[in-house]
């Protein structure tokens, strides 16, 4: 199925099941698909597992999803930030599970899911509390930890421009987790600044090929052209 341009963000997150694992792009607010997360709040799915680098900032976007009580578990590298009070409160009162994963292992586990890699050995985290209970092996005189893929049912990402076939380019460091998450979820919804005609993007510069993209929403209505 090639990518579909959605009428609005609600259409892009329609059908998300209770208990789904949702990958949410962004590093802080750069690349954070705020409008799609807002749509997911309206959509109402419960008991979600959210995979994202952070655990929400301020009171909007991912923080609002958490505040609405929709999230059972967060898998992330860096929940604690100056403005992560929503997560902090839920965590301290035992109302949310947390799996902390080193940022590079998180990215590589997402890539592995998208790339059909069953598991991989990485030196990151070896000998630390985050590798406790995990299989290790010495390879090349270095202790390495066996890590498994992280897959999503849905990925919500933000890109800069899409063409009508779903090819994506990003903007600067807002690229961050978008391209790997786009490969790692059964359904991939993307909010973009604008949609252009197919053939407009330079084939050499496409970062996420359309094969990975299912649903596209331009952030502002009318930003299709």
């Amino acid at each position: 199925m090639t990518a579909r341009i959605c009428a609005d963000h609600d259409e892009a997150v329609a059908g998300t099941a209770d208990g789904a694992t949702v990958l949410v792009g962004g590093f802080g607010m750069a690349g954070m698909p705020v409008d799609l997360v807002d749509a997911l709040i309206r959509q109402g799915a419960m008991d979600l597992t959210v995979v994202s680098n952070n655990a929400g900032n301020g009171d909007t976007g991912l923080a609002a999803l958490l505040a609405a009580g929709r999230v059972r578990k967060v898998i992330c590298s860096f929940p604690r930030q100056v403005d992560s009070w929503v997560f902090d409160g839920l965590y301290r009162s035992g109302r949310i599970e947390l799996e902390v994963v080193p940022q590079g292992n998180l990215a590589e586990r997402l890539r592995a899911a998208g790339a059909g890699i069953g598991a991989f050995f990485t030196p990151t985290g070896a000998g630390t509390p985050l590798a406790e209970g995990k299989e290790t092996r010495e390879i090349d005189s270095r202790v390495q930890v066996l890590e498994y893929p992280v897959r999503g049912d849905l990925a919500l990402i933000k890109a800069h421009v899409a063409d009508r076939m779903g090819n994506l380019v990003y903007r600067r460091t807002a690229r961050n987790f978008g391209p790997v998450m786009a490969t790692a979820a059964a359904t991939v919804a993307v909010q973009v600044d604008r949609v252009v005609e197919t053939g407009t993007l330079d084939p050499e510069a496409v970062v996420t090929p359309g094969i990975y993209v299912d649903r596209i929403v331009p952030v502002e209505r009318g930003a299709t052209g």
């Binding site: 009508r164 090819n167 084939p203 090929p209 359309g210 094969i211």
Partner: protein, 214 residues
């Protein structure tokens, strides 16, 4: 109905791809006969072709002035680029394949077993130089992997077999086989004829024996 020509087999595959994927499909066509499938895709099918050497939305073969030595398919034939194309490196291209993002892959074969094992890379002859290319990646690298081949080899021996005697390319990876004499499902349920062309069910059963064909 007589046995199918290569083009008729390719047309049957093209039609089945289009029918099964009304919203478009991402397809890899193996080197050799499977490339014929591209010529039979209905206009507007929305099928996007992947070539494992690093491209999506590959166009038809290039001729004359359109030939660009930097733009080739997996069979090293010069091809063209369609609007919406993208290029990527080998690790990304095989990640796309291994990760199960392609809808259909069509391959040639020496043998397919009743349970869907594939042998298509090596005749096993002692002086043959082994060369696998992307065959093993393609065999496990799509949601559905189909084979296009003649049902019998030049010596008249069946190529759908109880167990492959040639070296394997992949285990239980094939679910459908398109041949000159018909289309067959293989897999955990054994061999089932979906369509026969120019041959009776009785004759197929006799010639594929001891395989059971349902």
């Amino acid at each position: 109905m007589s046995p199918r020509t290569k083009d008729e087999i390719a047309a049957a595959i093209a039609r089945d791809i289009a029918d099964a994927h009304p919203g478009g499909a991402f397809v890899n066509l193996g080197i050799g006969q499977p490339t014929l499938v591209a010529d039979h895709l209905p206009p507007g099918s929305g099928v996007v072709l992947h070539t494992e050497n690093g491209m999506l939305n590959m166009g038809p073969a290039a001729h004359g002035e359109d030939i660009d030595p930097d733009l080739i398919n997996a069979g090293k034939v010069p091809v063209t680029e369609l609007p919406g194309a993208s290029y990527f490196h080998q690790a990304d291209s095989f990640a796309m394949m291994r990760g199960g993002h392609l809808d259909v892959c069509v391959l040639g074969a020496f043998q397919v077993s009743a349970t869907g094992d594939l042998a298509n890379w090596h005749t096993g002859e002692p002086d043959a130089i082994p060369a696998v290319g992307g065959a093993m990646d393609l065999a496990i690298g799509a949601k559905r992997v189909w084979v296009m081949m003649t049902l019998f080899d030049k010596q008249g021996r069946p190529k759908i077999v109880p167990e492959c005697t040639y070296p394997l390319t992949g285990l239980g990876c094939i679910d459908r086989v398109y041949t000159d004499l018909g289309t067959f499902e293989v897999g955990s349920g054994g061999v089932r004829a979906l369509e026969l062309c120019g041959i009776s069910a009785a004759e197929i059963s006799a010639r594929l024996s001891p395989l059971a064909v349902s």
